[in-house]
């Protein structure tokens, strides 16, 4: 367990909060796509930690960032974290996304709060000069975030919404096809929607592209000992907290 100090915790609209925490140890160890388990409050209610993707990190500054959606008791309590508050963090845990050696172009597909999982990867890829095509999906513009954090000369951000139909499978497929035609995609990373996961899998399969998906399951221990957070894969039930959250698309959809 590590202790972190809240630096900022503010609403960013769409029912999301953005929180910045100083925790040099986690910032030092964190890899793209890994998760951190927040103990929302001491005591027994809520009893368990809450898992969150690390949205962004800054190894030099020793900070990590989260974007979280208000869902229930735990996230409701997190809303009241104030700058200066000390919070109890466990992690980072789980498998990270890995950029393939020599990758030139990647696609990021995120939906809703799942977007939080793929943004730091996009930033890392851009830092390495890799071309990034990001497709960020949500019900409406307020439900999509992270576009700004991805800004870079080699990154294109496509925001797609349910309200205008741009988040349809057909349209997302169109963006993927165009990206592929403009020069081969080396890897696809997806988080936040089963439908997008399936679509990414079908597309990756068709074009022989390496693809990864980050999954969610309710957790207890967060470190791989209790086996409550399993998802069904081609290798049997695997834990999302330790064997995941990032899995090869083929293990989940194959």
């Amino acid at each position: 367990m590590r202790s972190g100090v809240v630096l900022a915790n503010e609403s960013i609209g769409g029912g999301y909060h953005h929180m910045i925490v100083n925790c040099p140890k986690i910032a030092e160890e964190i890899k793209d796509g890994q998760i951190v388990h927040i103990r929302v409050k001491d005591g027994y209610e809520p009893l368990l930690r809450r898992p969150f993707s690390v949205y962004l990190y800054d190894k030099k500054a020793g900070t990590i960032e989260f974007v979280y959606a208000i869902k229930g008791v735990g996230t409701e309590m997190m809303k009241s974290f104030k700058p200066g508050d000390e919070i109890d963090l466990l992690g980072p845990t789980g498998k990270s996304y890995t950029l393939k050696e020599g990758a030139k172009k990647i696609v990021l597909l995120g939906r809703g709060v799942g977007i939080a999982s793929i943004i730091s990867l996009g930033a890392s890829a851009a830092d390495k000069g890799i071309q990034v095509e990001a497709i960020l999906s949500g019900k409406s513009p307020e439900k999509v975030f992270g576009g700004k954090a991805l800004q870079s000369p080699t990154t294109t951000v496509n925001e797609v919404y349910d309200i205008d139909g741009t988040s349809d499978v057909e349209n997302v497929m169109k963006i993927l096809r165009r990206t592929q035609e403009e020069g081969g995609i080396d890897q696809i990373f997806v988080c936040g929607s089963k439908r997008l996961g399936q679509l990414a899998y079908d597309f990756a399969n068709e074009h022989n592209i390496e693809g990864y998906v980050s999954l969610e399951e309710r957790m207890a221990c967060g470190i791989g000992v209790c086996h409550v957070c399993v998802c069904k894969t081609t290798k049997g039930y695997q834990t999302v907290c330790k064997d995941g959250p990032v899995f090869p698309l083929a293990e989940v959809y194959g």
Partner: protein
Amino acid sequence: MMERISLKVNIGGVELKNPVMPASGTFGVESADYLDCRKLGAILPKSFTLNPQQGNPPPRVVETSCGMLNAVGIQNKGLEYFINVTLPFFETFDTPVIASVSAYSEEDFKTIIRELNKTKTALIELNISCPNLKEGGKAFGTSAEETYKIVKAAKSVSEIPLITKLSPNVTDITEIALAAESAGSDAVSLINTFLGMAIDINTMRPKLGNITGGLSGPAIKPLALRMVWQVAQKVKIPVIGIGGIASGADAIEFLLAGATAVQIGTSSFAEPNIMERIISEIEDYMREKNISDIHEIIGGLKIG
């Protein structure tokens, strides 16, 4: 200055440096990254079965008021993996290792125990009380007669002292404890989880993939404590108290009620090194009360 305090206890002839150990299913090799296994009274990894098994469909967990329901169904990699990987890993810590064994038949229990006889396993805990196994749901541990038969069979082949883990899902837990004792069990541990359920009112479906699951955590502590107290009065063998323990004070309550040792389960999830804290809180309590030997606490409940 007070003389050095002793937290040493003995279970079935095995000396433990203190009475604090993990509860099965809540501790594994990964836990060693978060706490010092050398400090524990014993190490107790997840139950295993003869052959690997997949466990129940997700979702497997629901958080409840001060507790949680789980329906894992003993997902594990089987006996061979335990002997070749888990056991060697934990043997490096100079702390006795307890093997938690689960099985579907007398024969399977015997086969597993015969293999464990060849290892350095210090103690065996017979998990005859898991509420999440379809066949085990009728758990041997819910009938005194079945408990007697299984323990007797296990004892007939075991060269390792046995702990029988009891289910709270019974009318009179003392009867089951007595059956285990008369069949030759060297200790009893209690309790396993309470069978419970939760329903999602929006989907009108059970919240657990297995429909029902086992309730654990602070919510069950008073029930567990009462059962430990009842059993401790009836049996002569050591009792290991389990259920909702989340502090040194909680552990001391169980010791006072007659437990010789305690296991910590669900509380380790939020605080993976909680057992180290519990041990030091027990020491603090003993110093404060001027108690030099933990046996002065065990069964020390005063009534009347």
